[in-house]
Amino acid sequence: MNTYLQELEKRSIAIIREVKAQFKNPAVLWSTGKDSTATVWLCKKAFFGKIPFPVIHIDTSYKFPEIYQFRDKIAKEWDFNLIIAKNEKALKNGMSPKKGRLECCTQLKTEALKNLIKEQKFDALILAIRRDEHGIRAKERYYSPRDENFRWNYKDQPAELWDLYVKPSEDFSHMRVHPILHWTELDVWEYVKQENLPVNPLYFAKNGKRYRSLGCMPCTVPIPSTASTIDEIIHEIKTSKTPERAGRAQDKEKAYMMQKLRSLGYM
């Protein structure tokens, strides 16, 4: 076993176990992408094969058919409690990317999750975000308290000194926990290879293109690539200068600014 990956894994598993010990009702979010699949796998390893909390998949109904197939197959094989969150009301009212990508994301992802948290009273959510994905995510901590509107005050976060992950006593609706925050895209792929994890086929090149990051069908575009195996993907990442989320139409900076300007009353 690669000792570097072993160190990454050890730290992530320790965080996941802390979540189970500190929170009454945690859950893990799973998009079926490589990062969240690796995270669900880490949850499995942390508890010796049986994940002791639900796995949440947010279904916008605009995802690739391969995502649904992969989700159902793995949920069966890995035998966990899968909860599918869907904002049926917004879908009935015709919400789609045509009504504005950000509005669509807010309704079909954020609101769907908000409703589920309220309904199931989750107090901690494990997410597979990584610091190297985006500048905004670089400010994240392993424990990230959120209010009921999912607002995140990055200037007021737990200190996390000496790798101690402590739940603040109050003033948060739920805690976001990021056990693979310290991993890079390359680390995840090397871990996928080492652990022989299942991978969504969309990641592998077909006709000179592959998806490097998975989202909803109308808002995700493939990148030019010939990498059709995990080894080829690892080689491609090592030599690429293109950001991982280059194929995602939803611009996180733009989304952040829109939310910030809204909170200031501009819109």
Partner: protein, 234 residues
């Protein structure tokens, strides 16, 4: 007395773009200690009244909030002119159009160029109004939102922001020899979020005489302006 109220003017950009006219005899940062958010209307209303107006101005009705002269330091002046000053003489229609286009940009209906063209048009209008009044009243306040409005969509684009800061520096240059006391002040600063710009927690101030202020708050200027009006500094 002249007050240049420059929305979102940021000390780091003033220095980076060598805006020597904005950097007067004394200049520095202001603190937003005590304010939960960096809301434009709240901060300018607080500047005018000398007290934190955050609780008094609800976010939903903030853009139409209007102070009376007797609630502000304007009451210390027999005559004054305030061009487009938020919470006092704010050009509602112009700014409503700006916000509409800003929203349109985030909904992919409006381009940055279309939005910026309106911002520059409104800026030119304010400039015209401002210079028309120069030298005619004991107190002239000119509000310019160029750094804020352009910055929100382009603060990360150095070349574009250099043009904005150069323009504001030119305004400062044109007024610098015309009055005894010049205060240049911003409500908050700005920080880059990729190509975009978010409000930062420090504003900017600049005085053409040294008063030895140390990280003042936006409300601190009320008493200074009253002192000027009452000739304390002469």
């Amino acid at each position: 007395m002249i007050i240049l109220a420059l929305d979102a003017l940021d000390i780091h950009c003033v220095q980076k773009f060598h805006c020597k006219n904005l950097m007067q005899k004394e200049y520095g940062q202001t603190s937003l200690k005590g304010f939960n958010q960096e809301r434009t209307i709240v901060l300018w209303a607080s500047f005018l009244t000398g007290k934190n107006m955050e609780k008094e101005i609800p976010i939903k009705t903030q853009w139409t909030f209007q102070l009376q002269p007797e609630q502000t330091f304007l009451k210390f002046f027999q005559k004054y002119k305030a061009i487009d000053l938020p919470s006092f003489s704010y050009k509602q229609q112009n700014h409503e159009e700006e916000r509409k286009l800003l929203k349109g940009y985030f909904e992919d209906k409006v381009t940055v160029e279309e939005y910026e063209s309106l911002i520059w048009k409104n800026h030119e209008e304010n400039k015209k109004d401002f210079f028309k009044e120069l030298g005619k009243t004991p107190l002239l306040i000119g509000y310019f939102n160029l750094a804020d409005a352009i910055g929100h969509l382009s603060f990360g684009l150095t070349e574009k922001m250099a043009i904005v800061y150069n323009e504001l520096d030119k305004i400062a240059e044109e007024v610098k020899n015309s009055e005894d006391f010049i205060l240049i002040v911003s409500d908050h600063g700005m920080k880059a979020v990729g190509r975009y710009g978010d409000h930062s927690r420090n504003g900017f101030y600049s005085l053409n005489r040294a008063l030895g202020l140390n990280l003042p708050e936006i409300t601190s200027f009320y008493n200074i302006i009253r002192g000027i009006a009452e000739n304390e500094y002469f």
